[in-house]
């Protein structure tokens, strides 16, 4: 990530955190607000990070994935439905039910990844269309199944939503979480921690392994890769399925880590913001993570203003209108996509079907 964009990320995050601290002053200690902002930022950036990693994986191999939103929405539903089913029908304990839910989310994301790979690699459908199809399919499918499974009297639960197994518990990272003041930052839920770990793993996989070198070769110049005996189609399938799994884990965040329920359309454009993060991060895992933190901080501001609602002085109360602060991530997306903050370069063969 270029120094200009890194400076931009730092600036925006600092401004947002500062705004929260100002709004909370003098009744809440600035340190508490800052720690709370950072902790919330890391948490709410999770689906963006995972969505952006999904995009990086697919596009580095040359397949544009516009279906991240749909993959996350589907996984949010199937993860939730899986956890409910495991808990209500099989009587598994909450922890096991949630773990099963996460697995379901990853699998359903991977299956949509497989579908996208089939459309774009085997059938060479326009990849923009393929991704859009997945988004539309996800909206219809999750809405329909949600009604059929949980709100129809003929459904498996007789029209009554069974008791939810809750959300994944916060993990207490030994040592780090015991630190004074900042310890709160390290008390995170498992998907959030996994996402941060996956940024490192994805970076190493793409830039330090043979597999990653080949994936990038396929995304830059597939024919050149083919002439040295690399199986372009196979690598594209692998990357897109992996991308689907990552988006799937991102979807699990919504219903198994953030709130214990499913709402139609609950991903709310986060899959598209993730794509903006991927672009801003110049198609690298670390860059995408940094960009996800910017969007996360914007959302964290909104949440923290709610959190400290009672302590905010009247002069700052306009910020509480969630619609104003809630617009921030979308405004940032537009700003970033204009390229004012510096141009980024996609993989050369991104979005081009390979027909050799």
């Amino acid at each position: 990530m270029g120094s200009r964009r890194l400076a931009f990320v730092t600036l925006i995050v600092a401004v947002l955190v500062g705004a929260a601290a100002l709004a909370g002053a003098p009744r809440v200690a600035a340190a508490d607000v800052v720690v709370s902002m950072i902790a919330t930022t890391l948490a709410v950036a999770t689906p963006l990070t995972l969505g952006a990693l999904s995009g990086v994986m697919c596009e580095r191999a040359g397949v544009v994935n516009l279906g991240i939103e749909g993959m996350m929405l589907s996984s949010a539903f199937f993860g939730w439905a899986g956890a409910l089913y495991a808990s209500a029908a099989w009587g598994l304990p909450p922890g096991a039910s949630l773990a099963f839910g996460v697995a379901m989310a990853i699998v359903s994301g991977g299956l949509l990844g497989l579908a996208h790979a089939a459309l774009s690699v085997t059938f060479r459908v326009d990849q923009i269309i393929g991704g859009t199809v997945i988004n539309l399919l996800a909206v219809g499918l999750t809405g329909f199944l949600n009604r059929q499974l949980f709100f129809e009297r003929t459904g498996p639960f007789g029209g009554v939503v069974p008791r939810s197994p809750g959300v994944l518990p916060r993990l207490h990272l030994p040592g780090l979480a015991d630190l004074p003041v900042v310890g709160r930052i390290f008390e995170q839920q498992p998907i959030t921690l996994t996402a941060i770990l996956l940024v490192v793993v994805a970076h190493l996989a793409l830039f330090r392994t043979r597999w990653g070198l080949r994936v990038r070769a396929v995304g830059e110049h597939p024919r050149a890769a083919a002439t040295v005996g690399i199986d372009v189609r196979r690598l594209r399938y692998e990357s897109v399925i992996l991308g689907g799994c990552l988006a799937g884990l991102g979807g699990a965040y919504f219903t198994l880590e953030s709130v214990p329920s499913f709402e139609p359309l609950m991903t709310n454009g986060r899959g598209f913001i993730a794509l903006a993060a991927m672009i801003f991060g110049n198609w690298t895992p670390t860059g995408a993570f940094a960009a996800a933190l910017v969007f996360g901080a914007a959302q964290a501001l909104q949440i923290n203003l709610q959190l400290f609602r009672d302590q905010i002085p009247p002069s700052w109360s306009f910020l509480q209108h969630s619609s104003i602060v809630g617009l921030l991530p979308y405004l940032l997306t537009m700003l970033i996509l204009t390229g004012v903050i510096g141009k980024t370069t996609p993989p050369a063969a991104d979005g081009k079907p390979y027909d050799g």
Binding site: T209, R210, L213, R216, A217, A224, A226, T227, V228, A348
Partner: protein
């Protein structure tokens, strides 16, 4: 025409010196040992492409340790045959034999495993990767868990390049390297995979004459080490300079096999085209008139905003041909785009017949007497999905005779097309044929017919014979000289030195966006031009 041969006398003076076990009479094999089987052999290879037979029962034999040229025009089926021998495309029928064993190639991996390497015409390199990454891609050096080892990779590639006398920095980014070095990387790629058979597809197309010389030295070195080499080309001079044997293809079939000693350029051209061809343009000395085009201190930026043309000045007079020589990518494309109104200069002045046309639109330039044969005929010269007749009316579609008062005159469009199709001998002779279905040479004829079918003040011809068969080159050259003789100023931009020397009255050499020198064509030599193209500022 024999300059190259003079420089490379050893090319065919001692063709078999490095091949102790070949069937050459001077070194007869011991009676008990049969001659080794061919390194690579194609037997009755047939491959159908939509609408044509790309390869029609082709037989091709590459002997152990020889340099074998595959000569033919564009579309003769050379590249198809080599792609089959490298496993890129499967043949419909026929057999492939490698050192006496019948083999099946399902993919390039199979070919690589059999010791067959290929250097493609359009380099198969990843610009953003380093030299080492490109050389090792697909055969990487890894530690545990498939982790790459950049240090060992660098050392390996450095050792490989030193062993074969192909110096290159393993850690340089390929995008930053000149084309000649990129080609070296391609050869190293094949050598790293232990290629014993090396196929080079049109390797000289993008090189300066000096780089061509270096490449041939490298190829002779590889041959000395026992590598068997196929070189695909349509350049007669080069083929004769480097090859031990020559196989000529035409229209998907092998028409004959010969050696440089047996066949001179004229004979090879006749084999390639199937009839007698005039290799040199017949022309009288120029009689320059008034200044027509005047370019002063022109600066142009390319699509990425980088300086492409940097302070170029020259002028072209009526009745003369100014050739602009240079290796592709030295600003000629951008210069031609500016002169034809497709791109705006950042600085400088252009005047055409005394009028300032620095920022004139293509339409205004056409009206001022510009005829333009663009470098990329598919993108800038033709509408492929239109008929020949419609394409012939494209430049002046809005004027009589093609239109009056904004209404198109179908009859006039058709009548004109029929006349031009006949004059320029276009195949098929049908004005309603879609341009997309024409061969490259015939597409070019459509453009030339259209551009010369009106009074020409300035003819701007960019790479007019690129991808055009030898037979059509003759006709195109004649048309350009005829335009000059009728009083047009001609600016010829070409990467083919032979073309520049055959047509130009004066030669300007472009290198890195600047004009290195403007020479009188009668005094310019290939060597001198080659050095200027490579960036030399003063001529030796």
């Amino acid at each position: 025409m024999t300059a190259d041969l003079a420089r490379d006398p050893e090319a065919h003076a001692r063709p078999d010196e490095d091949r102790p076990a070949s069937s050459t009479p001077s070194v007869p094999p011991p009676p008990s040992v049969p001659p080794p089987p061919p390194a690579l052999e194609a037997r009755a290879i047939t491959r159908r492409c939509p609408g044509a037979l790309a390869n029609d029962a082709v037989n091709f034999v590459l002997r152990e340790g020889e340099v074998h040229a595959l000569l033919g025009e564009n579309g003769a089926g050379k590249s198809t045959l080599m792609n089959i021998l490298y496993g890129m495309v499967p043949p419909d029928s026929g057999e492939i034999w490698r050192s006496g064993r019948r083999v099946t190639l399902r993919s390039p991996s199979d070919a690589i495993a059999l010791g067959i390497g290929m250097v493609h015409q359009h380099f198969m390199l990843i610009p953003g990767f380093t030299v080492a990454e490109n050389v090792l891609l697909g055969a990487e050096i890894t530690g545990r868990f498939g982790m790459l080892d950049p240090r060992r990779a660098s050392a390996e590639v450095r050792a490989l390049s030193e062993r074969h006398g192909l110096p290159v920095d393993p850690d340089a980014r390929v995008a930053d390297l000149p084309v000649g070095i990129q080609q070296r990387v391609e050869i190293l790629k094949a050598l790293h995979r232990k290629a014993e058979v090396l196929i080079l597809d049109e390797p000289t197309a993008v090189l300066t004459p000096q780089e061509v010389g270096e490449l041939f030295t490298v190829l002779r070195g590889l041959k000395a080490r026992g590598t068997s080499i196929v070189i695909i080309s349509h350049k007669l001079k080069e083929v004769r300079a480097v090859a031990d044997r020559i196989t000529v293809m035409r229209a998907g079939r092998v028409v004959g096999e010969t050696t440089p000693a047996e066949a001179d350029e004229q004979r090879l051209a006749t084999m390639m085209v199937g009839r007698e061809v005039l290799l040199t343009a017949d022309r009288s000395p120029a009689q320059p008139g008034d200044e027509v085009l005047r370019v002063r201190d022109l600066h142009v930026r390319d699509g990425q905003g980088l300086p492409a043309v940097r302070g170029v000045s020259f002028s072209v007079h009526a009745g003369e041909i100014l050739g602009i020589a240079g290796v592709q990518g030295n600003g000629q494309t951008e210069l031609a785009e500016v002169l034809s109104g497709l791109r705006r200069p950042t600085e400088g002045q252009i005047s055409l017949a005394g009028r300032d046309v620095t920022t004139a639109s293509p339409r205004a330039l056409i009206d001022a007497g510009l005829s333009h044969i663009p470098e990329d005929r598919q993108r800038h010269g033709l509408v492929a999905s239109y008929s020949v007749a419609d394409n012939l009316a494209l430049a002046t579609w809005n004027r009589p005779p093609f239109a009056a008062h904004g209404v198109r005159d179908e009859k006039a469009v058709r009548a004109r097309a029929e006349a031009l199709v006949k004059t320029y001998d276009m195949r098929p002779p049908n004005p309603d044929a879609l341009v997309a279905n024409l061969s490259g040479g015939n597409q070019q004829k459509v453009i030339i017919a259209r551009e010369l079918d009106r009074p020409v003040t300035l003819l701007l011809a960019s790479q007019p014979t690129r991808g055009v068969d030898v037979g059509s080159i003759e006709a195109i050259h004649r048309a350009i000289v005829a335009a000059r003789d009728s009083g047009a100023a001609v600016l010829l931009v070409s990467a083919e030195l032979d073309e520049i020397l055959a047509l130009s009255d004066r030669v300007a050499v472009m290198s890195r966006g600047e004009i290195a020198a403007i020479l009188d064509a009668s005094e310019a030599t290939r060597e001198q031009l080659g050095l200027l193209m490579a960036g030399a500022r003063t001529t030796p």
